[in-house]
């Protein structure tokens, strides 16, 4: 059984439950070669469980899972040949240096992995820290070491679970460039995130998970075509009049936002019309900004839970009002 279908990853009907909780519910997940594939979902959606299943860290209760066309049983010890990456924050032996850790992992891999260590450390930007014990590494440094460890395996499939956690914007940018280059070289990348903006910028295809089920799977362009209108935050001199005007304008829907001002759902052109109309009616515009991109909006629709604090709120008109959110929710450091 070889790569008949050509898919790098093919999961059919994969289910996993932990006691009473269903982590994955009949998930079908397909990844084609050479793309950067985003796995999206809120926390607890099952992304980590699915990625763990790809690595064989979690064994599904139902369904089949194929990597490069082979199931775990068919592949035997070669199941993870050409596959590398990490699930949740990469963990290493804190009492060993970065370099020693990679040497241990290269030893487990065999082959010529050991020869790649110094190169991988340099590419990951850890050349200076390689002799220091991992105990002293920051979260960002551990993420980079995880990447270096992955590259030792010359992967054709790279699986990264929230790789930008703990990274500064420069690091995120670099990662994006590196991953796009890898994709051009023919490496398939699976990237998980709960942040649609990041995914938008780098991925070609996307699978959205919600409560263990697939909410959407397909190419990003297809997703954009399906996406609802972008969401704007609008502050005016007269919110009441603005709401009235919105009811009269085609292609524009508006609601009051809890923090004041309005939330407006409209495509770019109707929005322009609406703003000009408000000005003509003497309603002053005090602030206008794009709050949620179309894809983010779609994401919230697919995964939003009405009534949950901090989550999106659904209005009676069926519109999802995103929560007021800071840009990067800080991730708590894991205790080593």
């Amino acid at each position: 059984m070889t790569e008949a279908t050509g898919h790098v990853v093919e999961a059919r009907g994969v289910s996993k439950w932990f006691g009473e909780t269903t982590a994955l519910d009949a998930v079908d997940f397909t990844v084609t070669p050479g793309v950067v594939h985003g796995l999206l979902g809120p926390n607890g959606a099952g992304k980590t469980t699915l990625l763990s299943a790809l690595f064989g860290l979690v064994l599904p209760d139902e369904g089949t899972l194929r990597l490069f066309g082979r199931t775990r049983a068919e592949a035997g010890p070669g199941w993870l040949d050409g596959v590398a990456g990490f699930v949740e924050t990469p963990r290493f032996y804190p009492y060993l240096s970065g370099r020693r850790n990679l040497a241990v992992l290269a030893g487990l891999d065999g082959g010529d992995a050991a020869a790649l260590i110094d190169q991988a450390l340099e590419r990951a930007g850890l050349a200076d820290a390689r002799g220091r014990r991992v105990k002293g590494y920051s979260l960002g440094m551990r993420q980079r070491l995880g990447l270096a460890a992955a590259m030792l395996r010359r992967p054709r499939l790279l699986i990264l679970d929230e790789p930008t956690n703990g990274m500064d914007p420069a690091g995120i940018r670099d990662l994006r460039t590196a991953l796009r280059q890898l994709a051009r070289d023919g490496v398939t990348v699976i990237l998980s995130s709960h942040n649609m903006t990041q995914v938008e910028e780098i991925c070609d295809a996307v699978t959205v998970l919600h409560r263990g089920k697939i909410a959407f799977a397909g190419r990003l362009d297809a997703m954009r075509a399906d996406a609802p209108d972008p969401v704007w935050r609008l502050r005016t001199g007269d919110d009441g009049a603005a709401l009235e005007q919105a009811r009269r304008s085609a292609g524009v829907k508006a609601e009051r936002h809890d923090d004041g001002g309005l939330v407006v759902f409209a495509a770019q052109d109707p929005m322009d019309e609406y703003v000009l109309t408000l000005a003509r009616d003497g309603v002053a515009i005090r602030g206008l900004e794009l709050d949620v991109t179309p894809l983010e909006s779609l994401f919230f629709q697919l995964t939003g839970e009405a009534g949950q604090p901090g989550e999106t709120r659904q209005t009676p008109a069926g519109l999802f009002i995103p929560p007021a959110r800071p840009d990067n929710v800080p991730v708590t450091e894991e205790v080593p």
Partner: protein
Amino acid sequence: MTLAAGQWPAYAEPAAGPAAGPSDPRQRSGTLVVWRLELAKLRGQWRVRAIALMCLVGPFVIVAGLNVQSATPGDTAFGQWVHTSGFAIPMVILGFGGQWLLPVGTAVVAGDIFSSEDHFGTWKTILTRSRSRGELFAGKFLAACTFATAAMVLLIITGLLAGLLAGTQPVVGLGGQLVTASHATELVVVSWLSVMPPVLGFTALAIFTSVASRNSAVGIGVPVVLTLAFQVVTLIALPAWGQQVLLSTPFTAWHGFWEQPAYVGPFLYGLLTSAVWFTLCSAAAWLVFRRRTIGGAS
């Protein structure tokens, strides 16, 4: 610090080929790869070095201690002969310390070798390389057994040497017979070797408790507690077969070798007991480990 683009290593061709089974030579040598790496990791542990040091100098320290006073260890076989013949010394060490020193010594390593990965969260790191769960399990298991064996062999050598230095006069056996130096040497070595099986039994037990609990304190502590428990239980008037079931009993099977006529019944039963404990604990540890969920995925 940047992630340089475009210069990652080149990639291997797609792997095609038949599925590999457990008889694949790659899998057999995979276990050895893990075994060697684990031994290297053990060599760096302070605990292992401390135990090695104790095995190296312990018997000589004991001989020196015995030399500075005229009293003899009571309540232990060969105790009264320690000033008369050097061969009594390794036998006193075996009799006195064997039943708790050796199980604790092996538990300190075997009770930690699996659960340390849980402690550091590194199971997911090493399970996502080119070694299967079976290879990792077998490699670590072998490394723990290797440590136990090596420490025992070291102790046999230094114990015998310390005894030989103290004096090679014939020693009085447990049957009242006088045992010459060459025969005594043989009996000392054979007696010590006879406790290897229960030591391996305790190794497997410590591995099981550490795999099941994912905690080194439990992995080491439970075998230690069990050692004490066995010694308490053995004092009860159990039927002979009940005594044989305890893993502590094979530690004294060597008494029969020193009797006249020598008897090996307890040794053979001890072999069976050790084998059963070893097999059950190893199998249980593997069953728990092979399909376990790694990580906090939920």
